[in-house]
Amino acid sequence: MAELIPMEYRIQVARHRHIRRWIVATCLAGIVAAAGLANAYAWQQRQAQEFAVLEKEYKNKSGLIKQATDLQAKRLDLAARMQKMQSLRDDKTLLSLLKSVAGEFTDKDSLQYINITAHGNAKGAPAKAPDGNDYAVRLVGITTDYTTHANLLDRLTDAGHKSEPPLSLPPDSTRIEKVQEGEVVHFEIVGEAPKSKGN
């Protein structure tokens, strides 16, 4: 057999074939890589979407948890208040002191502030009552003049003797001062449990 195809043509054909194969292989690799990247990108997008959904759900649930916590705190606060109100309502000493003091004010007297320490331990609380109970009442207000102030003091003293528990107004329990050029008198009266005889 003779072979008349020149070597340079065979080399050229072989080179073209190799180039073609490389191009095909490169294209295939590129397609595979692109498909992989697209798949990875799509997966990442799906993950991001799922994360967003979960984050949104978490935020919603966090709000609900916060609302529930707030509600629980309010309920606890309300319960504490109600318990406090219940304790105040059941406190006979406090109610009795308040009732005896409040009933002695007339239209010439005005109560601005009242502080009742019904159960001792109060700062600067007076001496103990005969039954051992500590209590004190501090009244701040204004009245028309010295006369009405004296009348108020008398009425409070009488009411204090009659009330249960009794409330004593010591001689130095009141301080007065004129305000607005003598038109009204500002007073501060402190009542306390009567001191026992042994004291």
């Binding site: 057999m1 003779a2 072979e3 008349l4 195809i5 020149p6 043509y9 065979r10 054909v13 072989a14």
Partner: protein, 317 residues
Amino acid sequence: MLNRSKDSFLAIDLAPDAVRVLDVTHKRGTPAIKALAAESLPEGTPDTLPERHLTALASLLATQRIRTRQCVAAVPSNLVVTRSVMIDLSKPQPPEEQIRQTLQNVISYDLRDLLFDFWNVTTPSDRSRTHEVLVVATQRSIVHKYLAGFTRLKLSCTHLDVAPCALASLIAKLVPNQESMVGTIALGETVGYFAIVERQRVLFWRPFDLPSAKNGQQASLARVGDEISKCVSHMVGSRQVDDMTEVLVFGHAAQDQPFADYLTQRFNLQVRSPSPFDSLPNDAIPAALRDALQPAAATQYAAALGLALQPSGGIYG
């Protein structure tokens, strides 16, 4: 699918007067013919032969709707020069250089345009410092024209041979005794060649022109006879040709009985004109195709079928 496409190829005989194509598929090492077609060349000068071949081939591929894209081909014998060259192994030049020096006195074109192949006709031995090779040479530019044309037709040519070598492969299948030396004559309308073949190897080959038909049949017979005589004379000088037992004739007018009788009487040899397709198993060619092929047409495909029968189907690289 890839293997199937690799095992299918076109065997294209670029004869001086026509293009003949066989669509071949190798099945378990045996070629099977799927289709065959031939297209005559338009009129023209020998210079335009490659262009006319490629035009006819393009027309043939289009009309026959042939999809096979791998091919082997045989260049026209009238574009090839053949010479027997004695290679002297004692010379410092390699055989290629010695052949080139011999051919530069023969060829009419630029030596840089020379393209050749060769094979041993006699075996180098220790007793002789020379041995004979048969050289086939053609113009590189012509080969490139054909290869470029094939590329334009989207054909990938893997083997480009000469017709006598293709016939040698065919004869190996047609002649039972593989050791015998066989003469073969291939005839076209205007040109032909005589070749001596032994063991699938062309030992010598001589192309010749045929006289015009208007000169009569006797003139053609005499011309062929003279050419064979020259070949035999040459071979007697270089080799022992007494072993040549028969002559196989293919091509134009191969079936003519007067032609066979003339050769038989002149050279005292058996002359046969077998169908090239006898070399194939019965199932290698569709029955309809085999029945449709008349002997006068079948013999024209000898070179194309020889290409198909070459080792590995003639596919290289």
